[in-house]
């Protein structure tokens, strides 16, 4: 049973949504610190543009497309949840999970090729940042997929439908981080 505290809403914003925005705030600062460090280094090292030329823009671009599409499906899941249709939300959530999986598969192929070509996390600081930032982002993708899996089965039984919106907010954030990573790591050459 939920405590009374959880059911109150002095601000008018549901507690879950409020909390997820604070989660996102804390995540922004984490990625912000990492990316700010990267940008400061990048500005100080002209030669990094040359290293960045070895990244696979096609794979990165495809992944951008995949993630953006998965953001669309989670919005459709939210729409279905708002309408009270848990089964439809369930299907769209699994579309999103599939999108996340595609992203990870492409990423693994990309990294395998790069590591085989000799670009590992210790090659130089560009590649260290590349693997650290993309890896941290990848962990967030995996976490999002696991949480979506749990939420989807609740949604199918029409329980806790508000959680579809919450995971949607989080998934948009994961998407947005990639929108920053893609130009910084792949395009700026």
């Amino acid at each position: 049973m939920k405590p009374i505290a959880t059911t109150r809403s002095v601000t008018g914003i549901p507690t879950g949504r409020l909390a997820i925005w604070w989660v996102i705030t804390s995540e922004i600062v984490i990625f912000g610190g990492l990316l700010a460090s990267y940008i400061m280094h990048r500005l100080g090292h002209e030669e990094w543009a040359g290293y960045a030329a070895h990244t696979n823009t096609l794979a990165g671009g495809t992944n951008t497309f995949v993630l953006l599409t998965s953001s669309l499906t989670i919005v459709l899941a939210h729409k279905a949840a708002e309408a009270g249709d848990g089964r439809k939300a369930f299907r769209f959530i699994w579309c999103t999970i599939f999108g996340g999986l595609t992203f990870l598969v492409i990423k693994s192929l990309e990294w395998t090729a790069e590591i085989k070509a000799g670009y590992t996390i210790t090659t130089n600081n560009f590649w260290s940042f590349y693997y650290t930032a993309a890896g941290l982002h990848g962990l967030h993708v995996i976490a999002g997929m696991i949480i979506m899996g749990i939420i989807s089965f609740q949604a199918r039984r029409n329980k806790e439908l508000q959680r579809v919106e919450l995971i949607g907010l989080y998934w948009h954030f994961v998407d947005l981080v990639w929108i920053f990573l893609f130009p910084l790591l792949y395009i700026a050459k």
Partner: protein
């Protein structure tokens, strides 16, 4: 959107005596989602860690007073052990004592009670937060026993000392230390989000923004500061762990990295962190001063806005730790200005507290003594901070015992005096009985006097050029003189007196749980909501849930016979 009223009334009385059922020890003490029990878990873990941290201080202070001699209870302190002791003393006292006790324990205990709700908004996340915290503490303690011993690269962990085992000589300890700190941050992020959301969304009906007790404001603002500042250090921790274990070169200048980057990431968190622990202590003092001066807080909104100003400014002062790290002198100028500036809101806060005392009917109870001592001692810490904030003076004083004495004059009032103030204040609520006042006062004096006798000599030594983190000053002829050694022995002797005196507190704290006289609901005749309910509050806190009609500081109101006016008492 508000669905506040209907569930409230439906729940009223639902948890009353009829529903009382015996819970197993495991569910009651270890797996509880009750915010009060989680607060106790944090409190007792923090107290246990404080004993470990205090013992470490004893061991390395003995080495400094009597270099190379056998330390009773520890043995000979080797140079590596000395480094591990000072490193982990700092880490434990800040991350495993000040944070869990001031933010987590008081936050968990007071937020739902003072806001008039039955629990945190996410009780299970609250439990998870403590469990993650406990794991982090266990990782840290385990690191003392691995080959090579605990991390010896200082609590600030500057690379390359922290990133290369050939420098710090603790190959496993270095990584376990960093992992423990990072895991702990996750615990406090979960707790912080819970605190902020609870305060924003779950206040009792009728409680407006400026009816929130100051201590709650300060814990919440501290949580926001923590949440907004810790991120870069989380990223930095990942980078440092990679440098240690995978062989990356984020902080290695020989391979294109930048060691000063770590300092930026560390202090961008590290300086707001000072205010993260300071604000809850300031809030505790505000509550105590109003209750025991029987006066309205002199400037509620002044304190509120100065708290906000402190919070914002705290993000713009971090590089004052790096004046000698080779940063641009023009940048040093800017950070000198912001550092001196941040003393303005804090000074204003102190003036408000003093103005609250002025003309009050002051009662020198134990909590009040602690609160007043906080003001006096923290003032010394603050004023010496201005010396260090000015880059010119800092270049001479940097990394000396002056710095060490300065931040102990800030952290000791925060983490020890503030905590004792809070514990003696809310003990009757937590355990339903009063602590012994006489023993409380004896403990107070036996803590405050030795504290000053430890750190005033260290100011003198620091100005005399004594550098920090030195194992044995006999190796430095200009620092090995008898007059300097006498001051070191004085500080060590005072430390031992202070540590032994804590037995009085433990005796009083645990003894009063059985032997103290019954406290009743409101022994201090205070206004805030936690005093409305039983001591200790039962499951669900309030029966029925309270409503709020006025601010928290209506003491000695001219229209009333009683000199206090509880927040939940309906107007006639």
């Amino acid at each position: 959107m508000s669905n506040a009223s209907s569930p409230d009334s439906a729940h009223t009385g639902a948890h009353d005596e009829a529903h009382h059922h015996e819970e197993s020890f495991f569910h009651k003490y270890l797996w509880s989602t009750d915010h009060k029990m989680i607060a106790m878990q944090y409190l007792f873990t923090g107290m246990a860690m404080a004993l470990i941290g205090g013992f470490m201080a004893y061991a390395f202070r003995m080495q400094l007073a009597y270099p190379g001699e056998h330390v009773p209870g520890f043995g000979i302190v080797s140079p590596t052990e000395y480094n591990a002791l000072v490193t982990n003393h700092g880490t434990i006292m800040i991350f495993w004592v000040a944070m869990p006790v001031l933010i987590a324990a008081f936050g968990n205990y007071l937020i739902p009670l003072m806001l008039g709700c039955d629990d945190m908004v996410f009780p299970r996340i609250n439990r998870l937060s403590y469990q993650i915290f406990l794991i982090s503490a266990l990782i840290l303690i385990a690191s003392f026993f691995v080959p090579g011993g605990g991390f010896g690269g200082a609590w600030t962990a500057y690379p390359p000392l922290s990133s290369k085992a050939i420098y710090n000589l603790t190959p496993l300890g270095q990584t376990m230390w960093m992992v423990a700190v990072a895991v702990e941050f996750v615990a406090f992020l979960l707790g912080g989000i819970n605190f902020i959301t609870t305060a924003m969304n779950s206040r009792a009906p009728g409680m407006k923004m400026f009816d929130i007790p100051m201590v709650i404001w300060m814990i919440v603002i501290a949580s926001i500061l923590f949440l907004a500042s810790v991120g870069p250090l989380v990223a930095g921790a990942v980078m440092l762990i990679f440098d240690q274990t995978l062989g990356t070169a984020f902080f290695d200048p020989n391979r294109g990295g930048d060691p000063v980057l770590w300092q930026h990431l560390f202090w961008f968190f590290g300086h707001p962190e000072v205010y993260v622990v300071l604000l809850p202590a300031m809030g505790i003092v505000a509550e105590i001063i109003t209750v025991f001066a029987r006066k309205k807080l002199f400037g509620y909104k002044t304190v509120f806005y100065t708290t906000l100003a402190t919070g914002i400014l705290s993000f713009f002062v971090w590089a004052h730790h790096q004046f000698v790290s080779g940063i641009d002198p023009r940048m040093a100028n800017i950070f000198t200005v912001t550092t001196v500036l941040i003393s303005v809101p804090l000074a204003e806060m102190c003036f408000v507290y003093i103005a609250t005392l002025y003309g009050g009917a002051i009662r020198l109870t134990t909590p009040m003594l602690w609160a007043l001592a906080f003001l006096g001692e923290f003032l010394i810490g603050g004023v010496t901070g201005i010396f260090l904030g000015a880059s010119g003076a800092d270049i001479y004083l940097h990394d000396s015992y002056f710095v060490l004495a300065h931040f102990h004059y800030t952290f000791f009032p925060i983490a020890i005096i503030g905590v004792f103030a809070g514990l003696t204040m809310w003990y009757p609520k937590m355990f339903g009985r009063m602590m012994n006042e006489t023993w409380g006062k004896i403990h107070f004096w036996l803590t405050i006097i030795p504290f000053n006798l430890i750190f005033i000599p260290l100011f003198v030594l620091g100005m005399g050029g004594q550098h920090r983190r030195i194992y044995n000053y006999e190796h430095f002829p200009e620092l090995a003189g008898e007059s300097m050694q006498d001051l070191r022995i004085l500080a060590t002797a005072a430390l031992i007196v202070m540590l032994v005196s804590q037995a009085i507190f433990l005796f009083n704290f645990f003894g009063s749980m059985k032997a103290g006289k019954k406290a009743g609901r409101n022994p201090w005749r205070a206004n805030t909501l936690e005093w409305v309910t039983a001591s200790p509050p039962g499951h669900g806190n309030f029966h029925p849930m309270p409503e709020v009609y006025r601010g928290p500081y209506e003491y000695s109101h001219p229209d009333r016979e009683e000199d206090y006016w509880p927040q939940n008492e309906p107007p006639n």
